[in-house]
Amino acid sequence: MTDSFGTDTATGRVSAFLRSPGARALASLAVIVLLGLIFNADGAFFKWGTHRDMLRQVSVYGILACGMTLVIITSGIDLSVGSLLGFTAVIFSLLSIRWGWSPWLAIPATFVVGTACGVASGALIARFTIQPFIATLAMMVFARGMAKFVSGGQKISTAVQQADGSYQYVEVPPVFDFINSTILGGNLTVVTLLFFLCVIVSFIILAKLRWGRYLYAIGGNEEASRLSGVPVAAVKVFAYGMCGLFCALAGICQAAQELQGDPEAGMAYELSAIAIVVIGGTSLRGGRGGIWLTLLGTVIIGYLEKVLSINAVGEESRLMLTGVIIILAVLFQKRRG
């Protein structure tokens, strides 16, 4: 029966934690790290370099997953993040490599493009009540088309084709080198740092700001939120807009890592981003979840890939195993209460 307040004991809190999605995600992570410790590929798993590379490889996905988390908490979905990554990677390369813009202009301009696309999806969803799946599916196709249109179907790289068909090479803009570099004595890449920054920004939004609370409220019960005076349409536009902004940052990182703007970049990344959020334990039904879960999900996927690749598991087996493990992780998450 119900008691009066303040009867939750320490043991109660511990058992509540053990049943929480966070504890379950931690357990999944522990299992995968344990596998890494056992199948350590002759000690490769014990070197910090392996872990640093894992973080670098997973950072772009992680940045997309941060935006995806905000959207999924409102019980929405954003299928356009992969295409937006490709589109903004092309835009950023075009501005910095072709047109030689300073990064101080090129980066904000790319952010504006990404955010505008997200806001457009959000507006379709909020104002015209189009289902998020459909609206962002359309944006996914549209942004991919825009990427190909803007780039002329070519990769935007430092090799510029001349009128006579020969190639002339321009210099790599310093900002590309910077994003690709490592800091802290080579122990952490800038891309990973940017990912952590996104996690912190998302945490502040979700846990510290009024509009973050509104994201949860809308995901939990949209009509109750509306009748409580929550500006539902504006909050949704905000969520998709933030997601677009994170896509633009991911696009910039992707361009810097590949030293080019590839209009085909980010194919099927939306699926990885959704998988990361779900493995972390954020509910696709909305109203529940958080950014720490997404951080855990990112690292789980990262270690999974890493353990398989250092043990030279072939790509075909790796894909099949990843599929199986996503299902196992989600089944594990579902068993609550």
Binding site: T2, L209, L227
Partner: protein, 516 residues
């Protein structure tokens, strides 16, 4: 079937008993919610299960229905011990539960719903559609319901959907039918209809377990009454031998002097003035859900809005609150200033609060904590510059929770884990947090137990003494007559009659509500 109505429930071994449950106990994560409860049911009997919210009624029913299979005690069906592992198994043994929420598939037809999951087939697995329809039509005719069974269920009003559920239960040849507050969404004539169907079921030898909070209903149909309190059985008696006062005492464990507190009735200046209010239909803007309604509400006044289902009284509150946006039009003034109905946010700023009649659908956010639910509508107050101030949220919500005597293990508890009455208190707390002058209350005591009902009445009195005004909708006549200072009666979107306190009677209101 034998007429063997035993006074005591201990006579469970007798063959006439359809069902007996003995020594039933159940605990959730270490908390005992039912302890040593006995309950039995005879053929051709309506046995009321009464008790406050959280008394354990739903848990007992869920054990019977096979939802929970880890319980102590024994269930005997027709003398034979049974232990159901799943709702399907309970169903096969002739136990049907009709829950408060309709559990039909809205897009499927009436006939398809009745036979869902056990479709009859002809050779080669083809659906026997014609046979099913014929059987469905026969079942519904027995209940005196003539509807087009090829129509999707969602096209029918809730009351008809409930009848369809009952028909579905009959199609299983269920001997034990459980109804969990079946009338909470029904209008008066529909309730009559349901009761006549219960009569039919009794004549067929079914036993009916009926959960209700409404006194009139309980004494209208009960043969026997069992009361639970805090997970224990308080008593069981023939309804003719149990006085109302005694029943209430059993339920709450203390005397409630009067069912309704006295209204002081000091009325001030006009707070809300509505002139020529119209509300367009969302689907068909050329139609009006509400046409040309004008009225005034004064400070300290409770104005009741009576009307049958479809009268538009609930829509009127939605429209006034801005929940329908620009579909609402009319000249409204609030505290002497013109008030343009635009959005819920604008209405909240102007001091209007709106408690809806469906907590689950649009009242609370189930995943969020009690605290976050309390502060939701007034969150700006707790987040200067957009940054949340959790300490201030905790202090305020604790004060609200204490003053409303909220029962919760912790204010960080998820809303979905509270009982109905406590959820209602949280939603009330949310609206109080916005500092309202005008409260729009749509069924504030729906699905709430006697003690909490009484508390809500007292709160309404307190608020009006502080100068607030209340527009009240309630489907319980005694509540309306006792609490409202004036009663506006609506019928098909129009105001048909206005009664002052004392002038109104149940008959007069019903007459006006039926457009007579």
């Amino acid at each position: 079937m034998a007429e063997n109505i035993s006074k005591k429930s201990e006579s469970s071994s007798k063959a006439a008993n359809l069902l007996s449950m003995e020594g039933i106990g159940k605990s959730f994560s270490g908390v005992q919610v039912l302890a040593d409860v006995c309950f039995d049911l005879n053929a051709a009997e309506v046995h009321i299960l009464a008790g406050e919210n959280g008394a354990g009624k739903s848990t007992l029913i869920k054990i019977l229905a096979g939802v929970y299979d880890d319980y102590q005690g024994e269930i005997r069906l027709g003398g034979k011990p049974v232990r159901f592992k799943s709702p399907q198994e309970a169903h096969r043994h002739g136990i049907s539960v009709i829950y408060q929420e309709i559990s039909l598939v809205g897009t499927l037809s009436v006939a398809e719903n009745i036979f869902l999951g056990r479709e009859t087939t002809r050779a080669a697995g083809w659906l026997d559609t014609a046979g099913q329809r014929q059987q469905a039509r026969r079942l519904l005719a027995e209940l005196g319901l003539e509807i087009d069974i090829s129509q999707p269920v969602e096209q029918f009003p809730v009351s008809v959907q409930q009848m369809i559920e009952i028909a579905k239960a009959l199609s299983f040849d269920s001997r034990v039918i459980v109804m969990d507050e079946p009338t909470s969404t029904l209008s008066e004539p529909e309730v009559e209809k349901l009761f006549s169907i219960i009569g039919v079921l009794k004549r067929r030898g079914c036993g009916i377990i009926y959960i209700s909070h409404k006194m009139e209903e309980i004494y209208g149909i009960a043969d026997r009454i069992t009361v639970l309190r805090d997970g224990c059985r308080v008593g069981c008696a023939q309804s003719s031998e149990l006085a109302r006062e005694e029943l209430i005492r059993w339920m709450v464990g203390r005397e409630i002097s009067q069912q309704f507190p006295a209204r002081s009735g000091r009325v001030g200046t006009v707070l809300l003035e509505v002139e020529n209010f119209f509300l367009q239909d969302e689907e068909d803007p050329s139609r009006f859900v509400i046409g040309d309604v004008s009225f005034k509400v004064r400070e300290g006044e409770i104005v009741g809005l009576a009307g049958l289902q479809g009268s538009g009284n609930s829509e009127l509150l939605h429209g006034l609150f801005g929940a329908c946006g620009s579909l609402a039009s009319g000249e409204i003034s609030l505290e002497g200033e013109p008030f343009r109905v635009r959005s819920p946010g604008e209405s909240i700023r102007r001091g209007v609060a709106f408690l809806t009649n469906d907590r689950k659908a649009n009242g609370y956010v189930p995943e969020m904590s009690v605290t976050h639910n309390i502060t939701l509508a007034a969150l700006k107050k707790f987040s200067p510059g957009g940054w949340l101030n959790p300490a201030a949220e905790t202090i305020s919500s604790r004060a609200r929770a204490d003053s409303l005597r909220l029962k919760a293990a912790s204010l960080d508890q998820e809303m979905a884990t509270l009982s109905g009455g406590n959820q209602q208190k949280v939603i009330l707390a949310r609206w109080l947090e916005t500092g309202p002058r005008l409260l729009l209350l749509d069924e504030p005591t729906r699905g709430v137990d006697v003690a909490v009902k009484h508390e809500i009445y007292e709160l309404m009195n307190r608020w009006t003494e502080q100068g607030c005004a209340i527009l009240l909708i309630t489907s319980e006549m005694p509540e309306l007559l006792a609490m409202a200072d004036r009663i506006l009666v609506m019928c098909r979107g129009r105001l048909t009659e206005v009664f002052d306190r004392g002038e109104a009677t149940q008959e007069k209101i019903l007459k006006a509500a039926m457009g007579d």
